[in-house]
């Protein structure tokens, strides 16, 4: 899969005003929607927004730079635990704790990024996975600070609760905000020099270095930025959940979901992860509610079908289709099969 054509296309389109208008309309739509659905649905939609933000964050390091962070959930977990600890032990307001959690995750990412980003391909993937699994063990083994396996609770009532619990509507807005923020960052990155540098690294790192891109700095920055967004989402998730446990906060399945959403939607694009997160989360939620015992089975089938029919991701499929005027799925299968 090459990324050259998509750069060209996005240039043409991004200079028009249409996407911005659609984006504004989508946000207004989301705000109108808020007053029309009840609390539990708000919570479900907030989860969709959460995954939009998470997949955008992953896309920066995994999609643009091509470094598949298989342990991305570590930033989610560390951001979350940072917020829980400072809110519980030091009585921070959530609004202070959340950005600090992002920074905390970003600094951590840049520190581990320096050695780890030298690794290539699967080895980078597995090393980051090791970090995530290892950090979960650290959290479990520091019960005085983190509550360990017994979990930890954010104060939502009483004198130490500095920030009032946001409620279903409040979290809907919070996660919507994070989704908008992350899509904004993603759009910025995809359009500016930094983003082109990352794409160059993705295609050929040696060549990128040869044309004067500081590859180490770009990669570390991208990792930090990605971790910053993931950490803030983790912080918000913790506040929403109130009581958290290390198993869920460092759950490798969350990473797998981020990757799936990005890859199914179209990695290395902004709209792809957005569509992937929306579609996948919506489908899985719908199936879970309507097929209580068989939902994972059906979801598995849908994933297999999606992957076989459009392995390059939805957005890249449409782009290739526009370029070649060829939308047939059979041709598409022929293109990628052995």
């Amino acid at each position: 899969m090459t990324t050259t054509p998509e750069v060209k296309i996005s240039r043409n389109l991004l200079h028009t005003w249409i996407p911005s208008v659609v984006a504004v309309l989508a946000v207004i739509g989301a705000l109108i929607l808020k007053s029309h659905i009840p609390g539990g649905e708000l919570r479900a939609v907030a989860t969709i927004f959460m995954f939009i933000a998470l997949s955008q964050a992953w896309n920066i390091i995994g999609g643009f730079a091509g470094y598949a962070s298989f342990g991305q959930v570590v930033f989610f977990g560390m951001g979350g635990y940072f917020t829980a600890v400072v809110m519980l032990k030091y009585h921070f307001s959530f609004w202070v704790a959340m950005p600090l959690s992002g920074l905390f995750a970003a600094v951590f990412a840049m520190l581990i990024g320096l050695p780890l980003l030298k690794l290539k391909g699967h080895y980078f993937a597995i090393a980051t996975l090791g970090v995530a699994e290892g950090m979960r063990e650290v959290v479990i083994n520091l019960p005085d600070l983190t509550g360990g396996g017994a979990g930890i609770s954010v104060p939502i009532a009483g004198t130490f609760a500095k920030t009032q619990y946001l409620g279903d509507g409040g979290f809907y807005l919070l996660f919507l905000g994070l989704a908008i923020f992350s899509v904004g960052i993603g759009t910025l990155v995809s359009r500016n020099k930094f983003g082109y540098g990352l794409r160059a690294i993705h295609q050929n790192e040696d060549a990128a270095a040869a044309v004067g891109i500081n590859t180490v700095r770009s990669k570390v920055m991208a990792y930090g930025l990605s971790a910053f967004m993931t950490g803030m989402v983790g912080a918000s998730y913790v506040f929403q959940q109130v009581t958290i446990f290390p198993e869920r906060l460092f759950d490798v399945e969350i990473t797998v979901l981020m990757i799936m959403m990005v890859v199914i939607g179209g990695s290395g694009t902004v709209i792809g992860p957005l569509l992937g997160a929306l579609g996948l989360q919506f489908i899985s939620e719908y199936l879970r509610e309507h097929f209580t015992s068989g939902h994972t089975f059906i979801l598995g089938l849908i994933i297999i079908l999606a992957v076989i029919l459009i392995p390059q991701g939805l957005v890249n499929y449409i782009r290739e289709g526009r370029r070649t005027k060829q939308y047939s799925l059979l041709t598409n299968i022929r293109r990628y099969r052995l």
Partner: protein, 294 residues
């Protein structure tokens, strides 16, 4: 001293079991660059088949494992030939998604067919141990350990000495060139994946004899295979063995001399340190690491 020897012996045996789980995973990854997230589900399926064999026909697990291997060989062949082959030329991480989907289906099917009961294969020699001085060597673990070593050597011999093995290796090195030489890549890929699944089935049988299993455990085995394969390094068929033994020893020593709750943490720390200083794993080849891009 006795304690040290006991802990070391036990760690090595545990490592052998890990190696057994990882060897097929490492093969598929090394040759075809496919990260098979359904590997753990294959292991569990192998365990269930051997369990059923014992409960229906009273078949000893050391014979039952060949039934598991045979069934999984067929399943593996079909999955690679008619599913994974369809997207081999797609972006690399796409196989990850496909196998994740396969994994979901397998696990839910096992949940429904076998129920989510905990199971374990009972044998008359189950938890017996050989005593060497004050050291206890559990018999079944020892056999599983020997099996891991035997399989590693047999795999190397197969790849280096047989026609099919050579074509597997050739396809792994350069698929295009291999096809030009008349190797049927589709078939070779399917055979490779089938062997990997068969090995997972054997590993599952050993797991079932030594521990307990249920479908929810599949993810744990995939993760273990992942870690062990990378630690050893790709592109070397002894990689899984080396990685498995190292992790087994490290966990065993850490549990004894540090704290019982830190064992997993220490294992991952070792993984990260090894990767930082030996970016291709302990005995891996650089070629297999470098060719991978998303």
């Amino acid at each position: 001293m006795d304690t040290f020897l006991q802990v070391t012996a036990y760690g090595l045996l545990q490592g052998g079991l890990l190696a057994l789980v990882a060897v097929g995973f490492s093969l598929v990854w090394g040759i075809m660059n496919i990260v098979n997230l359904s590997h753990g589900a294959f292991v569990i399926l192998g365990a269930y088949i051997a369990w059923e064999m014992q409960s229906w026909f009273g078949l000893d697990p050391f014979l039952g494992m060949f039934v598991s291997a045979a069934v999984l060989f067929c399943i593996g062949y079909v999955i690679q030939r008619y599913l994974i082959n369809l997207i081999v030329n797609g972006p690399v991480f796409i196989t990850l998604l496909l196998t994740f989907g396969i994994n979901m289906i397998f696990i839910q099917s096992m949940n429904l067919i076998f129920t989510a009961d905990f199971r374990s294969i009972q044998t008359s020699y189950g938890s017996n141990s050989l005593k060497i001085g004050a050291i206890h060597i559990p018999v079944v673990r020892l056999l599983a350990f020997l099996l891991a070593i035997l399989i590693s050597f047999a795999l190397v011999a197969f790849v280096k000495r047989t026609r099919t093995g050579l074509s597997i290796m050739a396809t792994g090195m350069d698929r295009g060139a291999a096809r030009l030489m008349g190797i049927r890549a589709r078939h070779v890929y399917a055979i490779t994946f089938a062997i990997s699944a068969a090995l997972a089935g054997m590993a599952g049988t050993m797991i079932a004899t030594i521990e307990t299993f249920d479908p929810a455990k599949a993810g744990k085995f995939t993760l273990m295979a992942f870690v062990v394969a990378v630690l050893g390094g790709l592109g070397n068929l002894y990689g899984a063995l080396v990685g498995g033994l190292l992790i087994g020893l490290v966990e065993s020593w850490a549990g004894q001399y540090l704290s019982g709750t830190w064992v997993n943490g220490i294992a991952f720390l070792v993984l990260i340190i090894v990767l930082i200083f030996r970016p291709n794993g302990l005995v891996g080849k650089a070629f297999y690491a470098a060719r991978v891009e998303l």
